[in-house]
Symmetry: C2
Subunit: 856 residues, 2 copies
Amino acid sequence: MKNIYLFNEGYGLEKMILGGKGANLVEMKKIGLPIPNGLIATTVACKNYFKNENCLSENMIKDIKEGIKKLEIETGKEFEGENPLLVSVRSGAPVSMPGMMDTILNLGLNDNTVQKLIEKTKNEKFVYEIYLRFIEMFAEIVKGVSREKFVKIKEYSKEKTYKEIIETFKGLYWIETGEFFPENPEEQILMAIESIFKSWNNERAKIYRQLNNIDESMGTAVVVQEMVFGNFNELSGTGVAFTRNPSTGENELFGEYLLEAQGEDIVAGIRTPHSIETMKNQLPNIYEEFLSIAKSLEKHYGDMQDIEFTIEDGKLFILQTRNGKRSPNASIKIAVDMVNENIITKEKAILMVDTELLPQVFNGTFEEADIVGKKFLGKGLPGSAGVAVGKVVLSTDKIKEGESVILVRVETSPEDIKGMSLAKGIVTVKGGATSHGAVVARGMGKCCVTGCEEIKIDSSEEFFTINGERVQEGEIISINGYNGDIYKGAIKLKMGELSEELKEFLEWCKEIKTLEVRMNADTPTDVIVGKGFGAEGIGLCRTEHMFFEDEKIWSVREMIIANTKEDRDKALEKLLELQKIDFKKMLHKLGGLPMNVRLLDPPFHEFLPKTEKDIQKLAVLLEKCPKEIESRIKELKEENPMLGHRGCRLAITFPEIYEMQARAIIESAIECKGEGGSCEIEIMIPFIGGISEFKYIKEGILKEIEKVFEEKNEKIDYKLGTMMELPRACLIANEIAEESAFFSFGTNDLTQTTYGISRDDSIKFIDHYKAKNIMKRDPFQSIDTRGVGKLIVLAKELGQSVKPNIKIGVCGEHGGDPKSIEYFNELGFNYVSCSPFRVPIAIVASAQSAILKRMS
Amino acid sequence: MKNIYLFNEGYGLEKMILGGKGANLVEMKKIGLPIPNGLIATTVACKNYFKNENCLSENMIKDIKEGIKKLEIETGKEFEGENPLLVSVRSGAPVSMPGMMDTILNLGLNDNTVQKLIEKTKNEKFVYEIYLRFIEMFAEIVKGVSREKFVKIKEYSKEKTYKEIIETFKGLYWIETGEFFPENPEEQILMAIESIFKSWNNERAKIYRQLNNIDESMGTAVVVQEMVFGNFNELSGTGVAFTRNPSTGENELFGEYLLEAQGEDIVAGIRTPHSIETMKNQLPNIYEEFLSIAKSLEKHYGDMQDIEFTIEDGKLFILQTRNGKRSPNASIKIAVDMVNENIITKEKAILMVDTELLPQVFNGTFEEADIVGKKFLGKGLPGSAGVAVGKVVLSTDKIKEGESVILVRVETSPEDIKGMSLAKGIVTVKGGATSHGAVVARGMGKCCVTGCEEIKIDSSEEFFTINGERVQEGEIISINGYNGDIYKGAIKLKMGELSEELKEFLEWCKEIKTLEVRMNADTPTDVIVGKGFGAEGIGLCRTEHMFFEDEKIWSVREMIIANTKEDRDKALEKLLELQKIDFKKMLHKLGGLPMNVRLLDPPFHEFLPKTEKDIQKLAVLLEKCPKEIESRIKELKEENPMLGHRGCRLAITFPEIYEMQARAIIESAIECKGEGGSCEIEIMIPFIGGISEFKYIKEGILKEIEKVFEEKNEKIDYKLGTMMELPRACLIANEIAEESAFFSFGTNDLTQTTYGISRDDSIKFIDHYKAKNIMKRDPFQSIDTRGVGKLIVLAKELGQSVKPNIKIGVCGEHGGDPKSIEYFNELGFNYVSCSPFRVPIAIVASAQSAILKRMS
């Protein structure tokens, strides 16, 4: 094993030897890129240095000098030659490691070579500037001289010549180190390499390694590379280019360049760069060369590249290439195009797309550029993906159809549903990601910002204040549902659409994935949306969401207020008919895809009127006195509604409710069949905690369904199963599996109960958890595999021990989260279900997970 | 194997052969009891009958007849003889089995023997009545003739002679069956035995066996036993006696008897029975015989016996003996006496005591007799064991020291603590067994009825109504904390005391048990009580309960309302001193026993003022405006406080609180040591859900404690551990065990989260669960071994996999529940902790469990 390798000698060696940076350069060299030449002092050399009591051995010095000789031949430049060789020296450990020493540029300069370079470039200023920079860097990095002192010298030297400044710099070096500044480039490079080896053991680096469990004995490599200068002469330049348009994905070179400039000039914005297109005329040969390199790089890395290049004296050098960042829309187009161009496989294309960014493809984004200058008002929580612009409206009844409005409310309630469907976006002061507002907005695919507690709505209901700013009703605001940002004024939107490429991409994902992707759909509209996105059925139909629509809520309230079973039955009869209308529409729209209906889940009080006006209305409707209604509302209040009288517990107290719902579902299915449709029915009981509960409810439902079969003189198939959303259900999953046709994990509630965290209340303390790094991932966003996951695995195993083929799915919010989908797919789940607007994301995530599973 | 065994032949045969009833009679015979003689047709005979196509074989008939012959010789009576033999015929399967056919009495009677019996007894009425009864029973049971028809005949036969009625009875038998009534006793007995065999296969019996998983092939035995008559003549009688006084436990015969009477006469209360003592004079020989039998029965069964006996014509017969029911106090005395009399072992004595009844020994009961005639007002939930009588008071400030009052409130709050401590008992309208009122009352060992929603307190606060009854303040009521009963007026109380026997009994239990029994103690008074009962330390000191005492609450409120860390620190400094006073007192009282302190657990809002008056007071105290206080209170309100900002989550937001508490504990311990005391300190972090949480808090506490050590220049030992009260903590118990010195299971919250049930809210639906038999046991009373238990076992195994000797205990309410204690003992827990007043019960339960564990 040699101490020193040139870039073209190192191919086949590991990153552990060459370091990350070195290995990358060796690869670029191998594929024939015109990169500046160089050599690598390996990690082995570093270890030898430590073994030799932190001293460069004779041998090592010989190897380095030989390496430099070879480099001189390769570059046609020479240390102290007519065409002087200048190099950069950088550390490069096998793993990325902040805390190691920095880069030294322009090594090789001295009073002698400076003159040669001035002769060649005719650019005194340029040469002296890089010389000064070299001395400064070398002194700081190799000898630990404070850079500030050099800066000060420069400040006080405005009147002085470059030569004088250089003398002062060297003087400072002498004062601070007790040594003369090394003029000999060979000496310079030996000192630089040695100090990088040493820096492996500095305090910052050691602590970093401890914190990140990095092997102490690994050592670092050193990369020495020829300097090239874009500001060398008029045939020089520098630029950055993407192999494709990162904004649209078009297959065209996209970038900027400047003649007679260095990279910093473009970054600092001192001069305005030109489009890369102009290079076609200015430097046609180089443009062609670059184009061909860009193509081959794409092929080699199998991805769109972001390339930095420099032209020195008419010669093109590639400095760096990496996978390019791109807009969500572009990411799809690029992936699809690259498959069609035979550059990558479909699998690779699918893995290339970042699912985190996919919502923006469907729900649009702000035009980045247009945010500049807009007044930032404040921040809430991301309630539902998307962006929206509109006039502020503070109460639902003020919304006129066709107007673009943003509804701003303390919190939303079932009465607001219609207003929410008319608004472009919703902002709530209270509530988190599972609040009514957020859940309903997500179901509608509508932008929503929740929990913006800085908003104080004035009691006049004519304006609100936010962080001292007053916003009048009718004023325009712009809101961002991805991050909770709220701006004053209208920001231009870039709205998503289902492009041809996206359709093709989704088709590939569907072919590859094995997990069934269903939708959470509560209305016929949901079904249309979700099916359009490729949903393979309904995984969760929350019947109670139907209850909030239109006038249905009044029948629900009648049912709840009922004092006698008779009164309740009367109200239930009305609801039966109303539910059937919805179910039948949905079944027809589904066209034979499965429909999984969850029976009533929320506690009664969620349905009751909240305003005095509505209490009055209900009293009139039911011919009762408002006091009675109020007292019933009070009676139904709970300390901890999340753990209260809800889910199947309602059906233990009032079995007739679930029986009505089961009847509505089965009657609808039979009638739908009669009308030529086909249906697949699943009925799901929520919040099961014990087996006796399920048996009792099952018996009642089965009896009611048998009655329907007799009345209709026709039978249909259906499955009856349970939601798994309580730890206890998971713990006795074997008992439940005996009776249940499927398990549908309700991971929202399961996470809440397993953690003992009420998601809504957690807003008050979760920020402290995040700030203190105690909770790295929000367990409500991505499933907590260490805790909740253990319960899920246990439940699955217990269930399958009794019923090996029991169908297992997820219908919580995690069903639309890519990380969680990967987890469920690995566990071998049958399906996930998510809101209609998350369906395509779930499809992509399932496909990615299927590919990864196959690969592992 | 014979078909038929006489009682004195069957010894050594199994219950599977003789049936339960038969085996019992054989045993009584064996120990020489004068029981009426008889024979048993075995289950083998029954099976033979089925094998013989449901027909009594020649052989079987022969066996039965031979058996009867032997019986005639034993009894000196004969079928149709001068002294006619009458028998009862009963079914007796190996397991108790309702649904089988009933008893036939007086078999052997016919027109002939009736006359003989009249001659002997000179009691025509008696003989005819039993003859009528026999015909009726025989017809009903053997032939299925409806009993109602016989009853009707009797009703219409008031003018007729017995002979005429008998003729009509037989006529009915003929009409209904087409057969003559069998006059021959041998024929009667064959028919009776056959019909019992047959009844094994009747529908009710079959269904019962299916439901209860009883083996179909088992068959039933038949018991034939000589009839004896207490009303036979003036030398006859009947009675019931306990071998010891079931009310006091005194070792004296206790019972009643009547001459010339049958058992029913005593039960029906037609005649007033005499004390058994009078028998000493009336029938001295029989009294002596009975006394000696009673003693030997006690010895044989090793327990106090409840004996039914009959005297026929001067001859004593024992009809039945069983372990006698006794009062809670008597149960202790009897157990202790029987050990001291060398009748039973200490182990047996310990197992004999029913722990369910023990609370009544300590907390007293109503005088049963005095309940009669009292007006029952209504029922709440059993909040805290005990009984109380007193004047109704509706607000705390009206209570005068020394008065016997019952405090009736909608709910109690920290402000009521003082009033509660003065009241004899507490009634609340709202809240369940974990409500503030119930928890505090249990801590005080005070009777409490909670959740009595029928009570409507008038807004005048001068009276309440309950189920239509009006109760004025000052009126006397009596309340029962065992079952929630509320009565108008004063019921006499029987108050518990720590008798000598009880002390001795508890000593034995302490010797035998292996589980450590600790107390939940929040105040020095608690420590005195619990230690007096034998607690071996504190398993749970809820620091926040100290906060509610006296004026401390105002410093707590100051701390909560604080806007800045500075203000909070100022308030915490005050609290530090206040907490130290309590801790030091408790440590001194403990005298070296371990003290486990749980750091602050409840959400802040529990501490805040609830009345306008108190808000005003706080505002003045803190020099803030009441609006500010109100808005802070509003801010702290939570949707689901049970799952909210509480437990260690408070310490993530405000680390200084736990640090203050840790300092208070450690400083107290060091100072206590300095004063010559010794201490064992355990500090417990509540509501841990993740390991990062615990690590973060641990680090802060450790630092603070190190500071104390430096300041005091002294170190002491202490342990830092976690409550296990969230499913997630159990699931990652291995991670927690790495950092934690012990696990203390908080089974209340663990049950709430595992079931997803808020105990307070469950009041509204749990009754339906019980009524529908869906929840047989209240999981908050006895630990749910099937679900919650699985999590506990998992946590224990995971914890021990990392730290095999990790200390494991329970400090939830289950720590005082005998069934749960048995479970924890079986799992090998180190300790349980319960309220001071439950300590003796836990000691007894632990001892019982230790004995059972040793036996198994």
